[in-house]
Amino acid sequence: MSRIGVFICHCGSNIGATVDVPKVVEAARTLPHVVYADDNKYTCSDPGQQSIRDAIEEHDLDRIVIASCSPRMHELTFRKMLHQTRINPYLLEIANIREQCSWVHKDIEAGTAKAIDLVRMAAAKIDRDTPLYTTTIPVNKRALVIGGGIAGMQAALDIADAGYPVTLVEKEPSLGGKMVMLDKTFPTMDCSACICTPKMAEVGTHPRIEVRTCAEVEKVAGYVGNFEVTIREAPKHVDYELCTGCGLCESKCPTKITSEFDQGLGKRKAIYKPFAQAVPSKPTIDAAHCRKINEGKCGVCEKLCPTGAIRFDDEEKRSTETYGAIIVAIGYQLIDWADLYGEYGGRVASPNVITGLQFERLVNASGPTEGHIQRPSDGTEPKSVVIVKCVGSRDPHKGKAYCSRACCMYGAKHAHQYLDKVPDGRCYVFYMDVRTPGKGYDEFYMNTQRDGAVYLRGRVSKIYEQGGKLVCLGEDTLAGATVQVEADLVVLETAMVPADDADRLGSMLGVTRDKDLWLSEAHPKLRPVETNSGGVYLAGTCQGPKDIPDTVAQASAAAMKVCILFSKDELESNAMIAGSDVGLCNGCGACVAICPYQAVTLEEVTRRENSVMVTRTVSNVNPGLCQGCGACTVACKPGAMDLKGFSDEQIMREVEALCL
């Protein structure tokens, strides 16, 4: 027999004005198992709480109902109060008679009747409440950062500097990501390599950061504090223990391949570092193009290597390790414009139609043209350049509906750089809107106009080659005239889209993706770096298009969240979670399929049933992963699965209490 105490709050006049509180108290006293009921001016105040504690002692209560404001307001307050008593904090129900009763109903009679109903429902429910306990989960204080661009590097450095070990996984042979491909960064025009490569070196030499290049996350199991992560490393065919990075192999390799780093505008070798300042500063062999590996001939690198570091028979490696937290920083890629925009030439476009990232390589002093802006087709200096913004962005028909955020500044920077290097050149920028919120951004854009860039408001409709020129047809909607520009070079500022890996990684980590496959944060305003998966955080453009300052800020924020997690030795799990009754479970696995957190697994148990030992497959809930949504309870046909704190019986009792 439970002994229920009911406490009705006046909340000053907030409740008392439209609900007849004494009448509710009277009604409460008649409810089954209610041994005590009283009212209070302000239940949440210290004296209010004290009177509840006194009543518990005096009347030997073993559970309480508080009729007051919303549980979203004070449920935690009252649970904390119960901590100081002998009652389990979960033996508490709140009847919301303020937000959902007194504040919305003007009629005292109807409001009072409803308040009585709500109290009756709460009392019926609490009669079936059981004490609940949180468990603790150990925290493994090692972080995994996926992606070695500026976001991943910043996050790894921050966590490592705070004293925790970090593994940084990068799928390319070098750290640096997209930022290290850039020439200069807006609006300050500091050289990207000059600020990015020191970070790369710092990461590479940090005693608490382990860098794994040519590596990908293959599998993730476990939960916050205890992720089991399998990392696959592609063969590098070079023994990094022996290699000194002297570069002799690369200089003598006879095979030339289009350079990915130079965005197809330059060449690299089959054994290569993507770029001079690569970290690690050691080469890898591109097995797809190596003659020795494919044809058995050549082997020049092996013959020349002074330390004997070449390993043609190198194989991929897999390792599984435990991490407490994961930061996803896999960045973005550029939309494949050629597939979408036949009107700009599509797959058969002139080589002189390039992307902004290709322009970065063209204008970069260590790029394929040593920083001389040249037409890819013939190496001449373009005297007229057209920059087209919003290619693939703000285009729900052919590309993406969203704005890619960085391109307005990126385009302005390209115009500025071109006019800087080719002072007698002409530069036209086709734009739809100029969006430059940011410190010093609009000033930069205005200066680009002063540099001589002609801004034309309109989308380009067609780009075609005629007489060695690229004819661009557009409208300047400000002049209200269609315009034609005959350009030597066209730069398309293409949309940012999620990295190829985003979807796979998202589903592996239980991170939702939005309709464009960007990884979703837990809350767009208040939890911008957390995800719906505990212990998994987002940094940089994998969450959505952004520029470098925002990326770095978000990376440090994500690192901070990891450090907060690591500041505790143990985590307290949610007490209101699902649990399965082994006796009823038939092992059908419906709960496993419906669980969005992979918290339910099937396992074999051997137990005595009717005095025989039986081995059966039953479901098991991992308390670290279960978030308490209750989807499994409805999916469970034999009725074995139930949710603590919102059990089938409790809800049924509430329903019945209402219908009395």
Partner: protein, 312 residues
């Protein structure tokens, strides 16, 4: 290969060469075309600007009569304009029963919209036609540089036409390649020829023709191939007029793609209707039919960034 055939109003008049060459090629590759009973004009854009109902009803009448006659075949039409009207009607009728009933009420005939509509180009570019085409082609066109001109109606709107890329279609190019011609990569494949505006709005519309010739010439085309009698008339008949105001005249003959296929099969210019063109075709035909071999220098390499292998 058996289709119901919608010749279109120009088949026996301005499009006579198309009719001659198409029937020649069709016969050679076993493509049987059964003319639809008592078909009427598709209405083309003139009906559309008059009334949407009329624009759907005219093709619906011809299609419904074919159904009534038990002609259970998909429909093929050589004219791009007719294709566009017929295809749009089928699309409209299939969108809802309400639409279909509306048409039935106007044309006083039951119309089930079962038959699909295709252009002659689409039919010939299908694998089952490409095979006999390849077998029937006995002569190579000697690498004649042909710019394939598709115009608007075959490719737009893509949701309705369901045919080839609206900016850079390839089907005619691949037929030209099959005939031994060299497809020209150019940018005006699907730009408008001006259609009937060449009569009603000649001043502005002439420029459209000039743009097409200009880009074809700039990309080294020796001939233009078309798949529409109106495109043909606008380009071929008006090339001389365009040249009057030009210092350097164009000299690009225009052919129906079926004429070029016919030439490659050994058909005579007369039989194919090539002798009825306005702009002289002799030079191009002579080049196309010159006795091989005469390997043309390959100055037309693709600019795709090559993964080249150079030996040090």
């Amino acid at each position: 290969m058996r289709y119901a055939y919608f010749p279109g109003c120009s088949a026996a008049s301005t499009g006579i060469s198309f009719t001659l060459s198409a029937s020649y090629v069709a016969k050679r590759i076993g493509l049987e075309l059964v003319e639809m009973p008592d078909w009427c004009c598709c209405g083309t854009s003139a009906a559309l600007v008059t009334s949407r109902d009329l624009a759907h009803a005219l093709p619906a009448r011809s299609l419904a009569l074919a159904e009534q006659a038990g002609l259970d075949l998909d429909v093929v039409t050589p004219c791009a304009g007719c294709f566009s009207s017929l295809k749009r009607t089928v699309h409209y009728a299939r969108q809802s029963d309400k639409n279909r009933h509306r048409l039935e009420e106007i044309i006083e005939l039951p119309y089930a919209a079962t038959a699909d509509v295709m252009s002659l180009l689409e039919v010939m570019a299908r694998p089952e036609a490409m095979e006999p085409l390849a077998a029937a082609i006995t002569k190579s066109l000697n690498g004649l540089r042909v710019a394939s001109y598709y115009g608007c109606a075959l490719v737009r709107p893509q949701e309705v036409t369901c045919f080839d890329d609206p900016e850079d279609p390839q089907s005619m190019d691949s037929l030209m390649e099959l005939a031994g011609a060299e497809p020209v990569r150019w940018a005006f494949k699907t730009e408008c020829c001006g259609a009937s505006h060449q009569i009603s709005e000649p001043h502005g519309a002439r420029r459209l023709i000039a743009r097409v010739f200009e880009n074809a010439a700039a990309n080294g085309a020796e001939a233009i191939a078309v798949a529409c009698p109106l495109c043909m008339l606008n380009l071929d008949m008006r090339e001389a007029g365009i040249n009057e105001s030009r210092a350097v005249p164009f000299d690009i003959p225009v052919f129906y793609f079926t004429e070029l296929l016919g030439l490659a099969m050994g058909g005579s210019a007369r039989r194919l209707g090539i002798d009825r063109h306005f702009w002289p075709t002799g030079k191009a035909v002579r080049k196309a039919l010159a006795p091989p071999p005469e390997p043309s220098p390959d100055n037309h390499s693709t600019s795709e960034l090559p993964q080249e292998v150079t030996v040090a």
